[in-house]
Amino acid sequence: MINKIVASMAEAVADMQDGASIMISGFGDAGAPAELIEAVIAQGATDLTIISNNAGAGETGIAALMRANRVRKVICSFPRQAASHHFDARYRAGEVELELVPQGNLAARIQAAGAGLGAIFTPTGYGTMLAQGKETREIDGRHYVLEYPIHADFALVKARAADRWGNLVYRKVARNFGPIMAMAAKTTIVQVAEIVELGALDPETIVTPGIFVDRVVAMQPAPTV
């Protein structure tokens, strides 16, 4: 019997190694796997590359990773915001590298990784400083920039519910990067509000099929399945 449910956040991230690349779902707080990130901090892995829409705000989540100085590089679209002081400080001190990617290219590059494409020509960013030094091409009268897939060792994702095969459904706009990150990482770890019996999720409405998920952990102690 395959059971991807693990007992604790700590167990879920136990094998995270120094230097790992980690995709982290979320747009603002919606969909951010705060408890998994806490577990990574406790686990101790450092020198991490974080792929996420933001670089952390306030004191929890990615910001806590920044404060703990565990991050070597951030690949994101929107690092600077009202409460991004931990990122800002590390960045200004030269302690963290930033690769700034337009949000849609971030999504498309993550999708390219998940789908096994080698590269994509995207129109976004053409003619801007974010395309400097990149290969460009005119196709059918429109200009495109060549962008490469973004793979990761781990994806940390938040979803609403999962079963023991790792099938996922999300809640409202907390879905955001979860489904595409789950497809692009070698190991996908998901924190969920609810664990349900196998077969309880309608096969028509599963958003992330279990093939893309390696471990599931309940946000509170959940009934064993």
Partner: protein, 212 residues
């Protein structure tokens, strides 16, 4: 001369959005356009964080932080709305399925180049978000901005000096004193507030403006 305030400008932009349009309203002033869309018409608001059919702000007791817009403000969803992931959301945008995007700007060139993400300050921490995708994705990009900076420089320019968001992507610029079409043929004035003249606009902008 009666300059339009932000509300008046938002209302004016709203008048140009037809029923049935799929619309993305950028963060900041463009978000206010939603307040002036006719309630009895179906206009579809998209939020690039994964929501189509966005409704107005919720009552305080109904706030759900997993139902927010791209500016991270609480919103609602209309009957007939839907949720989707970031890949599909930006496919909507990049694939040309959004009819109108309304954005703010630091500068717009007479040929429709847009600069709205970076001041170019050497010590600034850059952040682009979805700006570049929105700029080049929608069929029509409307910009809402004051015509002049606080120090009196025109934000409608011959050529942008700030770092670009997108090339030749803006079609119309709504300012506090006039509305312009921009594009391959340059900038044309299509509306002015009462008391404004073409000559004054030329003087303010330093551009050879014509009326459309």
């Amino acid at each position: 001369m009666q300059r339009m305030d932000r509300n008046a400008l938002a209302a004016r932009v709203a008048r140009d959005i037809p029923e049935g349009a799929y619309v993305n309203l950028g963060i900041g002033a463009p978000t206010m356009v939603a307040n002036f869309l006719p309630k009895d018409k179906d206009i579809f608001l998209q939020s690039e964080n994964g929501l189509l059919g966005m409704g107005p702000a919720p009552e305080p007791e109904d706030i759900d932080w997993e139902l927010i817009n791209a500016g991270k403000q609480p919103v609602t969803i209309l009957p007939g709305g839907s949720y989707f992931h970031h890949g599909d959301s930006f496919a909507m945008m990049r694939g040309g399925h959004i009819d109108i995007c309304v954005l703010g700007a630091f500068q717009v060139s007479i040929h429709g180049d847009l600069a709205n993400w970076h001041t170019g300050a050497p010590d600034a921490i850059p952040a682009v978000g979805g700006a570049m995708d929105l700029a080049i994705g929608a069929r029509d990009v409307f910009v809402m901005m004051d015509l002049l900076t606080k120090s009196g420089e025109s934000k409608l320019v011959r050529q942008c000096t700030y770092p670009l968001t997108g090339l030749a992507c803006v079609s119309r610029v709504y300012t506090d004193v006039a509305i312009f079409d921009v594009g391959p043929d340059g900038a044309h004035v299509i509306e002015m507030v009462e008391g404004m003249t073409l000559d004054t606009l030329r003087a303010l902008t330093g551009l050879e403006l014509t009326e459309a």
